[in-house]
């Protein structure tokens, strides 16, 4: 390739790309181009069509209109393999590692390097190890290639996923929401890695709902709304506020900040000396009307606290009281005692994928729509579902659409709706805004506030600090399975104090 075509030629172009599902156009007339050595971000509300767009580029879906050009030549992808052979690779949102394989075995999964020993083809472990180490080094990541995948933390898992893609020497890499549920330090680290890739001349498409992150890393930003492209802007012209207004059109957005406390002096949940295989001596109180945040790095034990409370992990010792009544945790008793739990992994822990939107929403409190306690009244069930589709603006064709066809963020809203329908007193929300767009995020914060106003309480577990700081009355910090400190978001230097406690007392400058 002659030098003078230069660093910034177009590597991937889409012309008038569109896609329809069952006669509904979810994507229309998208023009898009990606240059070499560029980070080009896609932003838009939940269900705007971002994932659908990249699924066309990676050969999962075939477009119903328009065309794709790679290196100025038209290409047609009949399968994921076609797209990969062209040089396009995707780092999917879900981690897909084989737990008991080592790092390098995972990296070369399905593309083993071979060599011939005595005329027989054998797996060339030595070359694979060396190459894996080299790729990791290029990313500036220190990681033992012989480590087993199940021992990795979330950001390292993501790094291995990236390496899997890198050893294929792609020209274009697509990242679909790579930073969701990563902790602060892991997030920063991953963004550095992505910037390094850009320096190597790779064209990068980056999807995220975190607009600070988007404006910080991108060269250009393309905004989608309702399946159409609104505009592409350069990094210099971009600010979160501007992007939000492009994303939302005429909808209004305020920068949410908790204004008043609804906390009253009545303890509704009391946890004493809770111990499980991962937790040590957890004790805390939750007051009525309070929103309590729990912060901690990935793997610190946030989700474990939630799982212990609803009886999924076994307690070794400890005592839990709800409204001064002893409570033995089990998922079923949790519901009857007024606990609600929105888990972290929406597909693995939240959804029945082959069920409709309606059946997923009504699953927990099904009895509410039953006559005589067991016969489902489908008319009422449908009515109530429609109410939630409206109030949470869930983007779906209707209550009977299968949940697997909804966009990621809209699936998350369905899980929220499931619990909102009940009469719970204490809500435990593990990463409640994972994969949710700015506007809906704000709606969810208001919703939490409304719940608190009505005298309910909530525990919010999140690895995204600004979220905790803006919605909580109080924040507990967990580190290695213990609660290390308690901080009020309004006290001076709260953010720094929390971050330092999260890292086990290290001073953060």
């Amino acid at each position: 390739m002659p030098e003078f075509i230069g660093i910034n030629r177009n590597i991937l172009e889409a012309e008038g790309l569109g896609k329809e599902f069952n006669d509904v156009w979810v994507l229309r007339k998208i023009d898009f181009d990606l240059r070499t050595s560029e980070i080009h971000s896609l932003v838009g509300e939940n269900g705007a069509g971002k994932s659908t767009f990249i699924k066309i580029l990676s050969g999962v879906h075939s477009p119903d209109e328009g065309m794709i050009k790679f290196d100025a030549k038209p290409v047609v992808f009949h399968s994921v393999k076609d797209s990969e052979d062209t040089g396009i690779r995707t780092v999917h949102q879900e981690i897909n590692l084989v737990p008991f394989f080592t790092v390098y075995e995972n990296i070369f999964l399905g593309s083993d390097r071979k060599r011939t020993v005595l005329g027989l083809p054998t797996v060339d472990n030595k070359t694979m190890r060396a190459e894996a180490a080299r790729v990791l080094g290029e990313l500036g990541v220190e990681l033992d290639v012989n480590k087993k995948a199940h021992l990795l933390n979330a950001s390292m898992e993501r790094v291995v996923e990236i390496c899997k893609v890198l050893v294929q020497k792609p020209k274009v890499i697509i990242f679909d929401e790579p930073t969701t549920s990563l902790g602060e330090s892991e997030r920063v680290r991953l963004l550095e890695v992505i910037k390094n890739l850009k320096k190597k001349g790779i064209g990068i498409i980056f999807i995220s709902h975190n607009l600070e992150e988007v404006t910080g890393i991108s060269d250009r930003i393309t905004v989608f709304r309702d399946g159409a492209k609104i505009d592409t802007i350069n990094e210099e012209d971009a600010s979160p506020a501007k992007i939000i207004s492009m994303m939302l059109g005429d909808k209004t957005y305020y920068d949410y900040k908790k204004v008043c406390s609804h906390r009253i002096d009545e303890v509704c949940l009391e946890v004493e000396n809770l111990n499980t295989h991962r937790l040590k001596d957890i004790s805390f109180k939750l007051y009525q009307g309070e929103i309590l945040g729990i912060a901690g790095v990935v793997g610190a034990g946030k989700s474990e606290i939630a799982r212990a409370l609803v009886g999924i992990d076994r307690l070794d010792s400890g005592r839990i009281r709800i409204h001064n009544q002893d409570y033995q945790p089990s998922p079923e008793r949790a519901v009857t005692s007024g606990l609600a739990f929105v888990p972290e992994e929406r597909q693995a822990q939240g959804l029945i994928l082959n069920y409709s939107v309606m059946k997923n929403i009504t699953l927990t409190y099904l009895k509410k729509w039953c006559r005589w306690g067991f016969i489902i009244d489908s008319v009422e069930e449908k009515k109530s579902t429609e109410k939630y589709i409206k109030s949470l603006s869930i983007k779906t064709t209707g209550p009977t659409q299968l949940i697997k066809f909804l966009s990621g963020g809209n699936q998350q809203k369905v899980i929220l709706a499931r619990w909102l329908d009940g009469d719970f007193k204490i809500g435990i929300f593990d990463e409640p805004t994972k994969g949710i767009d700015v506007k809906t995020k704000e709606d969810i914060y208001h919703l939490l506030d409304d719940l608190a106003k009505k005298g309910n309480s909530a525990i919010v577990l999140s690895s995204y600090l600004p979220e905790l700081l803006s919605v909580c009355n109080r924040i507990l910090v967990v580190h290695e399975g213990r609660i290390v400190t308690e901080i009020c978001p309004s006290e001076p230097g709260a953010q720094e104090k929390i971050m330092s406690a999260m890292l086990g007392g290290v001073k953060v400058s």
């Binding site: 999962v60 879906h61 693995a348 029945i352 099904l366 067991f374």
Partner: protein, 327 residues
């Protein structure tokens, strides 16, 4: 014609995936009607339905277990055991009511044991229920040394009616079968119990996180399976006029064939009552038709096995292509 019906090959593929098994059943029916003289007569159809009633009832019970993601290998053995318990109680007490209760209780117990082992103790369902089946086999041999238990034919006229009676033109077992079918459809699709059974089969982890007591539900499905075996076993004993310890042993293979056919139907990937009914119809038509054609019985096994392989293969290959498309 094809072009008018299906816009593209995907639609056609989807159609075959959903209704392939149903079309297969229809073709089988038509072919048998053409080549076997007495196949398409009212009396043979009623006989066919009566033959399939027990298989259908057991398979419908199995539908619950499999709907919740489980499997029950003990059904064949249990059938004979329940028959023995039934006959011995009838002989001992002379009371049909007691005997019926004992049979149902026995089915319930087998279900409870299976359910405890699988849902509460956490053993893999294949292994646990297979072992229970093996134990049951031993127990019933011990009880009777393999001899049938006969009783005087006039012991209870009501009892004879269960397996051999008619209501109008319809054999009584067929009426029971349709009643159980409607009950199953109702419970699986109209009640919270059924909704949750399929939810557990769809994603047990998410069901647990949603606050469902999945152990209780899984236990219940095994109990339902045990009870349905008991019902079928009562009908069988009444029809045979004596209790054979090995009666119903072949149900295991047939029921497995039926539920696999059922899961391949309507593209759901899970067994449905109507799929189960059509599956049972296919297997029973094969049994009935091949017998009428004087085909040796061992050849029937070969045919049934092949039918299952073809159906599953068809569904899996078509389904897989579609699934990759949706990923």
């Amino acid at each position: 014609m094809k072009i008018a019906l299906f816009n593209n090959r995907n639609d056609l593929r989807e159609f075959i995936r959903k209704y392939g098994t149903v079309i297969g059943a229809l073709i089988l029916f038509i072919v048998f009607s053409l080549i076997i003289e007495r196949f398409l007569t009212a009396s043979n159809i009623l006989m066919l339905l009566r033959q399939m009633s027990m298989l259908t009832i057991i398979a419908l019970g199995f539908n619950f277990v499999m709907g919740a993601g489980g499997f029950d290998m003990s059904i064949g053995s249990a059938c004979g055991l329940i028959a023995m318990v039934f006959a011995l109680t009838l002989l001992g007490t002379g009371s049909l009511l007691l005997a019926l209760s004992a049979a149902l209780l026995c089915g319930l117990l087998v279900g409870l044991i299976n359910g405890m082992l699988v849902a509460y103790i956490g053993l893999p369902d294949f292994i646990a229920t297979f072992a229970v089946g093996s134990i049951i086999y031993g127990v019933k041999m011990l009880m009777t040394r393999g001899n049938p238990v006969s009783y005087p034919s006039d012991i209870s006229p009501v009892f004879a009616f269960i397996g051999r009676g008619f209501v109008g033109p319809f054999p009584f077992p067929v009426i029971i079968m349709f009643f159980i079918f409607i009950l199953t459809v109702f419970v699986l699709y109209r009640t919270s119990f059924g909704r949750r059974v399929y939810a557990i089969g769809g994603n047990p982890v998410a069901s647990l996180y949603a606050g469902i007591n999945i152990k209780k539900y899984r236990l219940a499905t095994f109990v339902i399976s045990g009870l349905s075996v008991a019902l079928a076993s009562i009908i069988l004993t009444s029809r045979l006029g004596s209790a054979q310890p090995l009666a119903g042993e072949e149900f295991l293979l047939d029921v497995i064939a039926v539920v696999f056919l059922s899961t391949t139907m309507f593209g759901e990937g899970e067994p449905t009552p109507s799929g189960t009914f059509i599956g049972a119809l296919i297997i029973s038509m094969l049994n009935n038709g091949l017998t009428m054609l004087n085909v040796p019985y061992y050849f029937q096994f070969i045919t049934k096995g092949s039918v299952v392989i073809v159906a599953v293969l068809l569904a899996v290959t078509l389904g897989q292509k579609l699934r990759i498309k949706f990923l």
